[in-house]
Amino acid sequence: MWPPAGRPHRRPMTTTLRHHSPGVADAARDLVPVVVGLTPFALLIGVTSVRSGVGAGTGVASAALLFGGSGQLTAITLLAGGAGTGAVLAAVTLVNARFLLYAAALEPHFRDQPRWFRWAAPHLVVDPTYAMVTRRTDLAGPGDPADPAAFRRYWLAAGGGLAVAWTGLTALGAVLAPVLPASSALDVAAPAMFLAMLVPVLRRARPARAGAAVAGVTAALASSLPDGLGLLCGIAAGVVAAAVADRTITDTAGSPS
């Protein structure tokens, strides 16, 4: 099923005949609200790196090199607690294991790309970039004659822009750490961002709602498992539930699967 079934893209087209390929301007337009939404989360990571004693340098380096908020928070928290390299490696790998799935889902976009892009650009695979590409129905998929250059421009502008903003905002959080009041209000920023990306997907189709419900309940039930294992259990259960729901709907409709 590619691209994902859904409402046609809302953006008005200048002509109905011309194929619209999203460019740098579209990427920037998609990116701005994402960066605004992620700002509290990035600031929180910068603040945490300083207050936990791990240091601003490590916090900012984690933004550029790990490039994923939950994995960074895991690493910083463990390092502050004196954990060894092996423990940090194991925990962060589990927390970030979902990137393996995001990459697999995005792989068709990378298939006809130049070698440098196939090796360097996967570094930009992270929850917001995956969600941004999933929401765009006008990016080329397999069998789509649209040029890979359009995806390359979009990915580098959106992902590269996000990486620069994310690293800069983490540094800003580290700088502001001494003056920012101690507040847990910023903690809700990241889940609110994920919720903002989830709601439009839920409006699309019933398998998505079944998958989300099962994933959420399973992740909650398994939340006492260590190192993000509960999250992975939730994702796996949700994918299976959505696939089953999809098949049930297809069978009921009597159309070949």
Partner: protein
């Protein structure tokens, strides 16, 4: 630079199914499952944050995070701008913190 080791592992997670073993060589059943990944992953992330360290019971026992995310969900339903729900959630969380 202890962060270099998990960063290298994370890079491997990102690159392996794109460039090393491209995902189109995976079995068809697995590839069909990937189409359903987005809602499952996002919902699991939200639920994990909602529950925190409180165990599964925390999913149904209302707390400040529930109120903040309920506000975010309402705003997300009305608007396609992903920044507004975040701002709504943080605003609600700050109000709750000030009042309590």
């Amino acid at each position: 630079m202890t962060v270099l080791v998990p960063a290298a592992a994370t890079y491997l997670l990102r690159v392996v199914l794109i460039t090393v073993v491209p995902a189109h060589r995976l079995p068809a059943a697995l590839r069909r499952g990937l189409a359903h990944l987005a809602p499952a992953a996002l919902a699991a992330l939200v639920a994990t944050a909602l529950v925190g360290h409180g165990g599964p019971v925390a999913l149904v026992v209302p707390g400040p995070t529930h109120l903040a995310l309920a506000a975010a969900g309402l705003v997300a339903w009305r608007s396609r701008n992903p920044a507004l729900p975040v701002l709504a959630a943080v605003a609600v969380a700050i109000v709750i913190e000030v009042l309590s």
